[in-house]
Point group: C2
Chain length 300, copies 2
Amino acid sequence: MKEKVKITEVGARDGLQNEKAFIPTNVKIEFIKKLIDASLSHIELTSFVKASSIPQLADASEVSAHFVRQSISQEFSCLTPNLQGYKSAIEHGYKEVAVFTAASNSFTKKNINKTIEESIQAFEDIFLEASKNNVKVRGYVSTIIACPYEGWIDPDKVLGVIDRLLDKGVYEVSLGETIGKAIPSQVEKLLNLILKKHPAKLFAGHFHDTYGMGIANTSKSLEMGLRSFDSSSGGLGGCPYAKGASGNLATEDLLYLLDTHGYETGVDLNKIVEASQYIESFLGRKLMSKSYQALLASKI
Amino acid sequence: MKEKVKITEVGARDGLQNEKAFIPTNVKIEFIKKLIDASLSHIELTSFVKASSIPQLADASEVSAHFVRQSISQEFSCLTPNLQGYKSAIEHGYKEVAVFTAASNSFTKKNINKTIEESIQAFEDIFLEASKNNVKVRGYVSTIIACPYEGWIDPDKVLGVIDRLLDKGVYEVSLGETIGKAIPSQVEKLLNLILKKHPAKLFAGHFHDTYGMGIANTSKSLEMGLRSFDSSSGGLGGCPYAKGASGNLATEDLLYLLDTHGYETGVDLNKIVEASQYIESFLGRKLMSKSYQALLASKI
């Protein structure tokens, strides 16, 4: 029997939030329908943030209303930066939310004007409510290897943040390599430290592809036992610290690796290509996933 | 002291030969000057083939005349498919040539209308001349993991071809992952077999990035002891079997990995970016190296 790997599609949230031009809500909905059609079972739909901070996701309510309560086989999640966001999520019927912190104080300070510890404290109410509501909480830790302000991050610092999130009750920690600067030997060193203390099943790899290292870091993480990864259709998105650079690891590249290795994901690679083609036509630029481009090319 | 890694820049040959529109000779020369300025010490300049088979490289003589005899610190090489090509190379003063075969009979048949064994026999004269002339011969083995006609290739078959080339006297075997379909676990399996029999210093990794796996396969090869890699500036080139797909592993992505890891290459990454920018302006499309794009973006 094939070993399973979980894919969390973050294109509609992490991908789109880095796209400058507003994507109309009906286009987002059509895009997500295509992701569902590709049999992705874990999709992060949107983020309940102030519309002023991420205008791209100002339609979180409309997008959520379209999918969450209608879901039969998909597990949808959304980012909830605070209790207000959490309450909106619950009103829309989400059974899973994600909270966000980082391994660098400079990064949390610049992004949410809180220290790491203050950001975790601020989630206290979400964790309390979620345990009452039987809602799963996923925790993102950003800047696990490098921070745009502090440079390379001490792995012990990352482990400290992970410990705090697991203590609070997150069911999975998504290890965010936010600026795509990591290389496999650094990922190996960090995972060696983490996996001495915690089982691999508590973690997901969330790699960005800014310097083209996303799939190499993913491959190393797979080797070390991780079986859960975040990716975005076509490699949607970008990097706020290097405008014009690549975004998240592409779902197509991830699937190419997993399918070729013989892992089971349940996801249909050709239908992901169709979803990417659809959203690409609204972007005014080419999506940068190489497997996407190769598969498109071989179709012609 | 830092460990050294050798980079063979193949953009001017393997990269450009996959570009449809003819790049004027003076542009090629300026491009190569910029590669030299980036302190690349091993550059494959061109190929002495019939102009009708690869029109892009019909200016092999002009390009060679411009650089080879003037070389002080660079080691230039060129592809020589037969004795006639070898003689042209020697006339231009080359001290290194490269011969080409594959691990798949269907591939050599389609490309040069010879079986693998016939292709190696055909090099006999080149090997004889080269040993008299004190010229180094490098051997390419294409389709080491996958063939566009035969599918996955048996590692034992690859080892057999390597043995033949080493017997003939090549100083380095460049392991060509021609269609970019390999993933790290396959590279590991193949290298495990090869390195049981031969020392790692006899091999170079030559990975294509068609499905975005180039850097992951390179990283795995580094881990297993390889210290020599072929790459092309900006990821120049494409794939004849998937038009519109990516080309060779990009020199920028390779350097990003090596520099970050702390290997010594002697090559100036920022100057490679300048060379890529220059050649890109003659291509009518964007070069697909992600490190190239990120470094360009962070310059702005």
